[in-house]
């Protein structure tokens, strides 16, 4: 989906965020967040509700502005670039809660994913690709998005994100509110997409799954990155096991994130 990773001179880091500080009005949410996303890999950010994960993604997408800090895409500073400009640079966000247009058909929702004039000519090819990935969307392409089931809506949202041929696809809580069987399915799709060469930044409420499919992870707490590392390391980390995977005895978190034990 992204440009094939042929050039060898490109660094392994696609996106790097340095010391991001973001506020909503007077309330500061991110306090110097630094993370980077490796090209072609799945990177995840986990953390409790309200830790600032969604804020971080919205900042990368340009919906929110960082008051301090820097965002580098392929080494270029994109901190000052508008959302539109970032879409143009093939950064896609699949937002929390799907955020579809309920009164538009599935196909129109997908088409909006390549809204920018420079993407439009490839819209038919994009549709074909998304329908191949999600045959169920093709069946329902004339249906209003508001009438889809939760899982189908999530597919539609991911499909919309793929329409812009992203080099970076950000997924915010893709499994939120879905039945366990659908959660399996959605995570399979994500792995699938990653195997096609799309770099993925994943924010997951389903920590167990998220860590399993990711290569590198960050743990975020109250607006700060408190822990990072390869996911095998995180899964064995005492703190993560206690706080997010609900394994073993120990200090329980305010919000257990998953019901299934590891």
């Amino acid at each position: 989906m992204a440009e094939p990773q042929t050039s060898t001179d490109r660094s392994a880091t696609l996106l790097s965020a340095q010391n991001l500080e973001v506020s909503y009005g007077a309330t500061q949410v991110l306090w110097g967040v630094t993370f980077s996303v490796a090209r072609g890999k799945i990177t995840c950010i986990i953390g409790a509700n309200g830790a600032g994960k969604t804020t971080a993604l919205n900042t990368v997408a340009g919906v929110l502005r960082a008051k301090r800090g820097q965002l580098l895409l392929n080494g270029d500073d994109i901190t000052a670039i508008s959302t539109r400009g970032r879409v143009k640079r093939h950064i896609s966000l699949v937002p929390e809660g799907r955020q579809l247009w309920p009164g538009m058909s599935v196909e129109e929702n997908l088409l909006m994913g390549c809204f920018l004039p420079q993407f439009r000519q490839r819209s038919q090819a994009g549709l074909a690709r998304v329908y191949e990935l999600f045959p169920r969307l093709k069946e329902r392409r004339h249906q209003m998005a508001g009438t889809l089931s939760g899982g189908e809506q999530q597919m539609c949202a991911i499909g919309r994100g793929l329409m812009a041929e992203p080099q970076l696809l950000m997924l915010d809580e893709p499994s939120l509110g879905l039945a366990p069987k659908l959660v399996d399915e959605i995570f399979e799709f994500i792995v699938n997409i990653a195997q096609q060469g799309v770099t993925i930044l994943l924010v997951g409420q389903n920590v167990n799954y998220t860590l399993q499919i990711s290569h590198y992870g960050y743990v975020m707490e109250t607006g700060r990155i408190t822990l990072e590392g390869p996911t095998e390391m995180l899964m064995n980390n005492e703190f993560v096991r206690h706080a997010y995977l609900g394994v073993a005895e120990g200090p329980q978190t305010k919000e257990p994130q998953t019901k299934e034990p590891l």
Partner: protein
């Protein structure tokens, strides 16, 4: 009254609904995309009527053609108004006092410019078309009403096609239904808002010209129609074109039949009573009050229905 007369009235009501819908739809798209209740709409209607009049008197352009010409002219005018005034309004998901005041102030300016240019006299556009009528059986219909209806309906269909088939239309609907989602796929909300304001104004100018062919007008022309537009969009759901068409039909039918249906009335004994024609303007007001009472949240209550929009 016999059946033919009712049929006659129904036909007239439907013909009226066409121009009502064209008149209200401009306000609807502006409200939908920008959450601005465009009070200056009345001013644009009035300017549209005078535009057709000037075109007719100076250049002998048929008023229907004048109405069509009003579309591009008012489109540019609307974009200019947005660029100069409207874009400075703070962004909001609900109508703000600032936007109401700005648009009301602008309406007063437009009205007074109207008085300055054209004086206080009533004007009307009279063409051979205005005075002739078509006879269908026992029913006679003024030709001008038919022509205005057809023009209005064609324009609504074109708008519907623009909304559903063009990228601009999709971006408008996207902004109406979910501004956040529109933003993350790269819709430029300022640009879309500017074009939408142009589109809304174009429709106001067009509808004003059509109304000018049906009624005599002065610079104060738009005001009763502003209220009607408002009733229509509240009735039809604030953000949908098909809702507007429905609201226009409801209002036009009620208005037309209000003086023709005997109302039961008790005064010492039951009797039937016809509403005097001078009370006809009460209908839109009463309807507005009724709708707002039944849906106590008023405008906001209709928000939840917006996914049915367009």
């Amino acid at each position: 009254m016999d059946a033919v007369e009712y049929l006659d009235l129904l036909l007239k009501a439907l013909l009226l609904a066409g121009v009502y819908a064209a008149m209200a739809v401009g306000m609807t798209v502006i409200y939908g995309v920008m959450k601005i209740v465009n009070l200056a709409h009345a001013g644009f209607l009035m300017l549209g009527a005078y535009f057709a009049l000037e075109m007719f008197q100076r250049f002998h352009i048929d008023p229907i053609l004048g109405a069509v010409m009003a579309l591009p002219v008012f489109f540019l005018f609307g974009m200019l108004v947005h660029w100069i005034l409207v874009r400075w309004l703070p962004k909001s998901d609900t109508p703000t006092l600032a936007s109401l005041l700005l648009m009301f102030g602008f309406l007063l300016v437009l009205q007074n410019v109207g008085y300055l240019l054209w004086g206080t006299e009533d004007q009307s556009i009279l063409t051979p078309l205005t005075l002739s009528s078509v006879q269908i059986g026992e029913i006679s219909i003024a030709k001008v009403k038919l022509v205005v209806f057809v023009a209005a309906v064609v324009c609504m269909i074109v708008l519907q096609i623009v909304l559903h088939r063009s990228w601009f239309g999709r971006s408008m609907r996207a902004l109406i239904q979910n501004p956040y989602a529109a933003k993350i796929v790269g819709v430029d909300d300022q640009r879309t808002a500017r074009l939408t304001f142009g589109l809304g104004t174009a429709f106001a100018g067009f509808a004003g010209a059509l109304l000018g062919m049906l009624y005599s007008f002065s610079p104060d022309f738009g005001r009763p129609f502003l209220l009607r537009s408002f009733v229509i969009i509240v009735l039809g759901g604030l953000e949908s074109v098909s809702g507007v068409a429905l609201g226009a039909i409801v209002l036009a039918v009620l208005e037309t039949f209000s003086t023709a249906i005997p109302l039961p009335w008790y005064w010492h004994k039951w009797s039937f009573y016809y509403l005097p024609p001078s009370y006809q303007p009460v209908v839109p007001f009463a309807l507005l009050v009724l709708v707002l009472v039944i849906m106590p949240k008023g405008l906001a209550g209709l928000f939840n229905r917006k996914w049915k929009a367009a």
